[in-house]
């Protein structure tokens, strides 16, 4: 049960990664960067990446019964 | 000086009988037809005894009893609860809320008068 839930959460995270760090999100942030003249894209990419790792850590380190 | 009794019930015929019985026992009688009227009557001059029906519209007997016992100046007032619901849990609840007696309807008129006299310390 817990494994299934974990699998679903990780799947959702995977989709999120695709969504936030793929086209078109990256294109939008890139345009924003051109517009603002500030380094928004590197912060966005690394920030999102870090948050997804954090979420994965939270999901995977949940205490669960040992098999 | 005559003791004062407040009869609280929503059944006119029962009020009529209680009023008759208490007057005959030598008490001064006042009548209230529901809980709210009863509390209003107490505000004036608290009676020595309350004959309190449980199942009434507005405020029921339990609530009236509880409110009376929350007011220290009304502590001297004795309460006899009258109810047509005779289950033990209800009796316990009435006594826990501070009623002095708990009488199930229909009651014996002699016993009721006896208990009232006892509570009021009248021989």
């Amino acid at each position: 049960m817990a494994r299934q839930r974990q699998g679903r959460l990780l799947g959702a995270l995977l989709l999120l990664l695709f969504l936030l760090l793929g086209y078109p999100a990256v294109l939008v942030v890139e345009e924003l960067q051109h517009h603002l003249g500030r380094p928004v894209l590197p912060v966005w990419v690394f920030g999102t990446w870090g948050l997804i790792i954090l979420a994965a850590a939270l999901i995977l380190e949940q205490p669960r019964e040992r098999r | 000086m005559g003791k004062r009794v407040l009869v609280v019930d929503d059944e006119p015929n029962i009020v009529m009988s209680l009023e008759f019985l208490m007057k005959r026992a030598g008490f001064e009688v006042q009548v209230a037809r529901n809980g709210r009227e009863a509390l209003a009557a107490l505000e004036g001059a608290p009676p020595d005894l309350l004959l309190l029906d449980v199942m009434m519209p507005e405020l029921d007997g339990y609530e009236v009893c509880e409110r009376i016992r929350q007011r220290p100046e009304w502590n001297a007032t004795k309460i006899i609860m009258l109810t047509a619901r005779g289950r033990d849990a209800e009796r316990q609840r009435g006594l826990a809320l501070g009623a002095d007696r708990y009488v199930t309807k229909p009651f014996s008129t002699r016993e009721l008068v006896e208990q009232a006299k006892q509570l009021l310390g009248v021989a």
Partner: protein, 902 residues
Amino acid sequence: MLPAGLVLLLSLAYLVGLFAIASWGDRRAEAGRSLIANPLVYTLSLAVYCTAWTFYGSVGLAGTGGLAFLPVYLGPTLVCLLFPLLLHKMVHTAKAYGITSIADFLAARFGKSAALAGLVTIVAAIAVLPYIALQLKAVSASIAVATGLSAEVGAPGLGIDTALLVAILMAAFAVLFGTRHIDAAEHHPGMVLAVAFESTVKLLTFLIAGTIIVYGLFDGFGDIFARALDAELGHLLDVSGPGFSHADWLLLTLLSAAAFLVLPRQFQVAVIENVDPDHIRRASWLMPLYLLLINLFVLPVAIAGVLLSGRPDDMTVLILAERTGLDWLVMLVFLGGLSAATAMIIVESVALATMISNDLVIPVLLRWPALGFAQRPDLSGVVLLVRRAGIVVLLLLGYGFYRLVGTGYGLVGIGLIAFCGVAQFVPPILAALYVRDANLTGAMIGLAGGFLVWLYTLVLPAMIPPDSALLTAGPFGIGLLRPQALLGLELLNPVSHALVWSWTVNLGGLLLGSLLATQSDLERVQALQFVDVYQRAGVTRPWHGEARVEDLRALLARFLGKRRADAALALDARQRGRTAAGNASADAALVQLAERQLARAIGTASARVMVASVVRGEVVGPQEVMEILDEASQIMEYSRRLEQKSRELEAATAELRQANERLRQLDHMKDEFIATVSHELRTPLTSIRSFSEILRDVPDLAEDERAQFLDVLVKESERLTRLINDILDVSKIEAGKMDWHLSRFDLDAVIEDAIAATAGLFRERGIVIERRLAGGLPEIEADRDRLQQVVINLLSNAAKFVPEKGGRVIVTSGVEDGVVTFAIADNGPGIPAQYLQTIFERFHQVGDTLTSKPKGTGLGLTICRHIVEHFGGRIWAESPPGQGAVFRFVLPVATPLARAAE
């Protein structure tokens, strides 16, 4: 600049240190206190993914393409999120069947096919060779930068070709720590520990160098980014640029995800060297974290390089380290790069050498009768020798590649070519794990097709001049066949382009082959064993062969050596509690054990051939397949039924809980009902008893009082009787035991009768009653007396609530839409909206505000509702504000059909 001698000395010292660590790791593991049995070391060993490409090449690429270097690390992050499912299954499978490499894995799944194993090995070797060359190139370039000497052979300086020296040293290391035992499935704890150490070194050195460059040479990230924007280098902060689109971003992410899974060295550390599948869980997020950290400084350092030296360069980190003037930092960076390169070379060459020996050389040797190889008594030495030779040859080939073609390309470019080559393993691997019907033909066609497309679209263009006619005009002038714009696909960069086409052909081949060809019997067995590995590992296969224990022992001894063969058989005997007598015939489990032991040494395909040579009659036939299929379907059927049972159980539990809840509610309702009935009965009884006692006990009662009390007695007795009648009616109706007397009648007549019956009551209270009857209503069919009871009830109800003076009641009847309607309106106080529904419930009046009025039984309206509904009608109340109450009911007109039936 550092003195060349110092660089050489420190490099050697570092490598010696690495030897020491590896050797320590091996000794500790042999002593049973392994240092690698924890998720952190496992993660660090996975970081062998980060090679000199990462350490040097990313910075070089970022100097021209900006953030375009990142997909190579986002891809692994992506695939890591799948690790708890995907890698776990791969590890579990590899352990269950003694898999030695990715070639072995695929071959075993597709019917223990030697041909597939060979093909995978060839693809892997060709794809990875440039990758090894890349490492050698990076190391010699870094030595050149660090010492200021040229890396060219024959140039003045070290007097030795540094790349060759590195290749030889690496080969020695790999031979020593990668081929100590013949059993390839056994772990190499020393090697893994050394790799983990190297991963730590490269990460720390890069972080240190990055911090010093960004905060020493500049004022931090913000400063560098701001200067980049000032210097018109804004494109370095972008993802897209010339030759790199957002589609490329996505495709390179996918490509890297694929490579992270199937590169031979990744398969080696992630699957073969895994000591505990549970480590995968933590590695799944630690690994992405490692990748994020090692990339943190790549972009700022690359920009810093362009700002300071004016051009991007693969060696930017080293060049900038020299700019700081700190010699120790230069040395540190150099060692970091060296560790990144050596870790890759060692693991990759060990993994590939195992594949080359098990899946290419040994099968050929065994199948070539002229060599007499198959008859030699002890082959373990030969196997080891082949493997060691494989390592040396690989590194020399890598060196050769570097010398011949390698110098013209950037590090990342070479690496991506390799990625795309090994990515061809992804479709068959996924099919192997999850698609039972994928077959050998499909895997072979797909892999070969994808490989050829890769060669044509990516490798070939890299080998010829970029302006050659083949690239610009296409072969024979056919533009649609241009290698970098196949079928006119020109939007993508060359790597993405190659990936799209090679995967398309690969998948297409796999699909087509699997649809057209049928699986052999052995393949079907293996497919089941892989796809359902969690249910099936450890299940003994049925078998019908015959073999002697002694023959198996001899076979094992030839490849593993006598000592290890005896040990394996003895262990098995002990575990199963019996002695392995020499002449006894072996059972299925023992044969399987022998095959698995052998597979660990020489690969699945060869092991199968060897075991078959000593076993008679063990043919995998339709019968065996049927048994296994049967077993599989039984297992699945069983688990399906189990699931269904548990679902049913859950449903039943829920139903029970619901029923229980309903019962509790009913119980409570019954309790309430009884309490209410008791209350309703006791109330008139109380009056009756009190006044009876008063009449008895008070002889001197005044005459008017006596009359009044007697009147009360009569009224309360009547009330009691009514109440009892009503209660009986309600319970009869609700229990369905009421006797209904059906007849046809006119509603108006019933209304007239009811009004006549209550006329006394109305007259007494001076209430005006107005009739608005329709006349000539269609007949209805019901119990006339009961319906009259309803109307009387409603009339007396109205009489009760109208004001004492000026009371007024209007009774209406009519017909519409097949129903006869009735309404009675009064000018009383009306009914609060919240009670319009509830007044029809039993004893509703108890506790409501209307009780100052004369009491009814509290059951009248309930009875009315029951009666009306029994005859298919509906009753309800309305109370427009300030206009009193209206009670209405409708009853269906009697049907002609019913009339005919009469």
